[in-house]
């Protein structure tokens, strides 16, 4: 069978969509973690944890699927990045599971010290995960040293360059904002008022990071903006991004929390899209020696394999979409006090 479109580009998009889904979903759940310690008192903290209690598992399903798709469609990227970014990824995985354990453990004992210890671990793990994910993205923009056998030749410290750290901090800021808005959406009364303050604080923090990162990108990594010159239509993406961001304080001010949260989701999605547009058709830039870069051409599975996978996706997707929509329909409406965790 032959598909009338470019399979590698289609898979680049598909992996991108899965990882964007993960960023949106785990983004708010990590963001809850970064503002968590600001909430005073046991009840408030429990409410925040309950707001993400039933979803962390489902959010991690997106990461597993995204990782699986990357392995399947671009095995060389999967192999190079995971073995090359070894320690950050191990810390990331450790953080993800540890965080989940902390959520489940903290309320099991009454002791104040027990609870504060898990609270701090939960919050630190959340910040660490967001930071590491951002640093990884930053390094994809900077480029990493690769040899002609596609292997990473740098060290752990190569990854900790100033620009990537800046992207890391920006990611923390983004998720803090995203999570704060989710908190406003899911809570009421005193806690909600507090969460509204977090939203305004984190928007300012994020705006600063955003401007700095944009300037640094345009100055030092103009290749990320190349395509906007050649294909001006793509400028719609950054414009949508800025509009979505400006819409957030407006909706929060008007107490239209759902719209604020949706705007924040759009902001996260368009940022991921900006990253994808800038990167394409590269997947991992080699710096120095750009000729060793991993692209959607040299790092993908064979056309035969991509064709089979695309057929499976096209056959299965209608079912997945149909029953997923049906399930969301079943669970529409307000969440009540019913205990929604295991």
């Amino acid at each position: 069978m032959n598909y009338p479109f470019d399979l590698q580009t289609a898979w680049f998009l598909l992996v991108g969509i899965l990882l964007t889904g993960y960023a949106i979903l785990d983004g708010f759940d990590l963001g809850i973690g970064t503002v968590y310690l600001l909430a005073k008192g046991d009840t408030h903290r429990r409410i925040l944890l309950n707001s993400i209690g039933p979803v962390w598992d489902g959010n991690e399903v997106w990461l597993i699927t995204g990782g699986g798709a990357l392995f399947a469609a671009f095995p060389h990227v999967y192999a190079t990045v995971f073995s090359g970014f070894y320690l950050p990824f191990i810390l990331l995985l450790f953080g993800l599971i540890f965080r989940a354990v902390a959520i489940e453990f903290r309320s099991k004992l009454e002791s104040q010290r027990w609870r504060s210890a898990w609270d701090v671990s939960f919050s630190v793990a959340s910040v660490l995960i967001a930071l590491l994910a951002g640093v990884a993205l930053g390094n994809m923009i900077v480029g990493v040293p690769l040899n002609k056998e596609m292997e990473y030749t740098g060290t752990f410290f190569t990854l900790l360059n100033p620009y990537s750290l800046l992207v890391g901090v920006t990611t923390v800021a983004l998720f803090t904002m995203h999570g704060s808005i989710y908190a406003v959406l899911k809570t009421e009364g005193e806690l909600q008022e507090q969460a509204r303050k977090w939203v305004f604080g984190s928007i300012i923090f994020f705006a600063l990071c955003y401007v700095l990162t944009t300037m640094a990108t345009l100055l030092f990594f103009p290749h990320m903006a190349e395509k906007f010159r050649t294909q001006p239509i793509l400028l719609a993406v950054p414009m949508l991004n800025v509009l979505a961001l400006f819409n957030i304080p407006r909706e929060i001010y008007r107490r239209n929390e759902m719209m604020a949260f949706l705007s924040s989701c759009v902001a996260v999605a368009t940022l991921m899209a900006l990253f994808g547009i800038g990167l394409y058709p590269n997947l991992v830039l080699s710096n120095p020696n750009p000729e060793y870069s991993l692209t959607i051409r040299n790092a993908s599975s064979s056309n035969a394999s991509l064709t089979i996978m695309m057929t499976i996706a096209i056959l299965g997707m209608p079912f997945v979409l149909a029953y997923t929509s049906a399930i969301y329909w079943v669970f529409r409406g307000k969440v009540n006090t019913e205990a929604l965790h295991y």
Binding site: G68, A72, L93, M150, I308, I327
Partner: protein
Amino acid sequence: MDTETLARIQFGLTAAFHYIFPPISIGLGVILVLLEGMYLRTKDRTWELATKFWVKIFAIVFAVGVASGIVMEFQFGTNWSVYSRFVGDIFGSALAAEGIFAFFLESGFLAVLVFGWNRVSPKVHFLSTIMVMLGSHFSAIWILVANSWQQTPAAYKIVGEGVLRRAEITDFWGLVFNPSSMDRLVHTVVGAWATGAFFVLSVSAFYLLKKKHVDVANASLRVALPFALVASLLQPLTGHSSVAGVAKNQPAKLAAFEGHYDSSKPMDLVLFGWTNPDTQQTVGLRIPGMASWLLYQDARRPVTGLDRFPKEDRPPVTWVFQTYHLMIGTGMLMILLAALAAFRFRTGKLPDCTLLLKALIVSVALPHIANQMGWMSAELGRQPWIVYGLLRTSDGLSKVVSAPMVLTSLILFTLIYLLLFALFLFLLDRKIKEGPTLEMASKRSDRGLI
């Protein structure tokens, strides 16, 4: 220790830990379908309570399974990057099929299964239960297809060289029906059924012993006992079929199973014993020629021994031999226990048999021992190959990863898995002590719209 040893320990440890959970989900999923089916047919409260109780347990098992599975997926890339490059093109199709046909199905309908009791009609709920059960089975299919391809590669061509050498797929159905996939799939899934069944037996026996929730315990036993018995009785048959495949496709593994060194001799069936790879001797209780007879219906037919393979191509015989025999021994014990309990249950004497009840309570460990030992003999028997005959385990390692790095991650993962296991036991213990409560029973007033 060198990087290879550490990376193998890490893979073995994380895989063994992860494999505690999926088999329970697979077996318990079938039991949920049976229990809820009985409820729909009889409208009896007891079946409903039993279903709802086991759904709660299922949710815990599923959650810990997902958390532990994340590490599994990513360590192919971190520790085994050369291997990942080699198999990526082949595994891609299996992974895509698992994601699309299994993963979304299971995790999506799980929400309805656990939280949807008052939101959907009983029939739609039952349908969701079936979907979750199917999802976990589909997952097993695709993982087993990929794993079996490592044992018996088929439908591929080799492209490229050096560390970038890889196998490319030539035929999707050739991958799905590679020589060992169906035998190994059936054997693994039936093993998972037994795991779920014994899990239910154990908790139900605990309730009978404590004389608590007796109705629900009896209802669960009515479904789980025959299921446990059938699954345990099927295992020697599916296992035999699997071994016949090993004899054909992986003779070194077969020889290691029975500690068989001399190719000029027929193969004995060793009941238990000790094998010494240095002296090439296997001592123990044996039935001469029995393995030859089982495989070829000819007790005098010689079978390829380990002497045909150079030292560097032999699997770690002692490990393979012992894990294989432990698996079989445990399996036999399971048949015995299930048969005894089923007989006592039919005659209504099970609640009085304190000793048997206690044995059933601890028997929850038996299928897990059999599962773990079976996997170890299958995967250690594949050594020294990571992809049989194509790529050596030592060549599959990440080139850029050093021993201290792997050691660091090994320590971190061991810690986190201990925590995760403690959490699992804690939640399980609490749910079992709570037991099926009347609040779980349906409130018909707020039935949903579908």
